[in-house]
Symmetry: C2
Subunit: 264 residues, 2 copies
């Protein structure tokens, strides 16, 4: 079994020292609980409601920033996936996710589907997200709105992902009484139709008037929510990631073999 | 507003006269309630648990069968979508859906994704499902398992569907307490990420040991269930189908324009 842990803290906007401490502490806490895979929110180092390119640039990091090595030291036996504001070539800013495996940075993915006013701050990634062969399984990385493009979840599943790790910041939106957040419904469906586990790590708090859904969820390969954020702000479940490797559902049904790619 | 009605009867397997009466009665009842779009279950004329090709052939129909004209007469001002066992060229059998608009047959779609043992009876369709410009809006037609292929729901939405009409037969599968049927979760997500309404019409009863989910649902373009089957066996809601025609969600977010097709 693989212990998948989403830590859902409340970063402070544009406060790098605070968020550094907050994120390292969250990673350390998860590692102490035996987490194999630790997911942090989108933009956990910078906060989300950055008011200008200048403010975002003031808290932008490169993937070789010592902060990521700190995450690695805090969980030296785990995979860690967390969001940050990235400073790229020519000073361009990206909404990115760093991935560490056993203390080493193994990838930095730039969000390819920017939501709303993110387009005023960030340059979208030019490459599809990776599926990484880590010490804890094959992990695909998406960031927030990326998850709402079924082409992309399908692509990562077809490339062999066991688990999709999804740093998110979900602004709270209206929903009918008794319903799950719409983003969780989308994740459940993506998990079920692709036979892949999904861990979405949302954030907490209110930032410059924006409330967050606090909807972190660990979802199994059949699409069922196995853990939601509790009062401690964590969602954690032990998943059988090997179950993501068969797409056969009955003697004659197979989620992938039954596709008709010539028709779409 | 468009009144969308799913009628969820319990057909009898291989009993064409019974199912003829049942389906015509369901269509007439829906029309009397002012339904603009009426969806019947998959294979409503034949039943589902057909035990052999010979038995399926004994209740197979061609699209010019008088039964469909009866559906048309029962709802002369509506669109009707319902499933049937189709006899095609060379005696091949198909799991199909007939579509009538104002009494006239306008399409017969052959299911392209056959579930499990359906593969032992039916030949899958060789053409993607249509989006039909009907008197009641642009309607895409899928059958049951088709809905679980996000490539296909996306395709029909991109082709301009306002509503997906989905005759289904959902065998009852286990689900955690308090959860919706997994197929409904998949439909909700497909509706939300594509901004398209979806009407899934399931069936009732038990047939040769198979229980059905009785999970008919009318879902709006934001992915929320607006009606589920009640004790009368109907799910009916008035939907604003014009709302499916804009994919813009905020000043800078658009479900379709935000796609990155070059990446997938």
């Amino acid at each position: 079994m693989t212990r998948v842990h989403c830590a859902q803290p409340a970063p402070r906007v544009a406060d790098l020292p605070h968020n550094r401490e907050l994120s390292v502490s969250a990673v350390r806490g998860a590692a102490a609980r035996g987490a194999d895979v630790i997911v942090l929110p989108e933009l956990v180092t910078s906060g989300y409601r950055l008011s200008s390119v200048a403010e975002a640039a003031s808290v932008a990091l490169t993937p070789d920033d010592p902060l990521f090595a700190e995450w690695g030291r805090a969980a030296p036996d785990s995979v860690v996936v967390g969001g940050f504001c990235e400073r790229g070539a020519g000073g361009r800013l990206h909404n990115s996710a760093a991935v560490l495996d056993r203390g080493e940075l193994v990838a930095a993915y730039r969000k390819t589907h920017l939501w709303d006013e993110e387009k005023l701050l960030f340059t979208p990634g030019s490459a599809a997200p990776p599926v990484l062969d880590t010490s804890r399984g094959r992990i695909g990385v998406l960031i927030c709105y990326d998850l709402e493009f079924p082409e992309l979840t399908r692509k990562l599943a077809l490339e062999g992902a066991d688990l999709l790790a999804v740093p998110t910041n979900w602004p709270l939106v209206p929903r009918p009484a008794g319903e799950r957040p719409p983003e969780v419904v989308i994740a459940m469906a993506a998990a079920r139709v692709n036979g892949v586990a999904i861990a979405c790590c949302d954030r907490a708090g209110t930032e410059r008037g924006t409330r967050w859904t606090e909807g972190s969820a660990v979802i199994d390969h059949e699409g069922w929510v196995r853990a939601e954020a509790d009062e401690s702000g964590c969602a954690e479940a032990d998943l059988d990631l090997a179950a993501s490797r068969t797409k056969r559902r009955t003697a004659h049904a197979d989620l992938f073999a039954d596709r008709r790619p010539e028709l779409y």
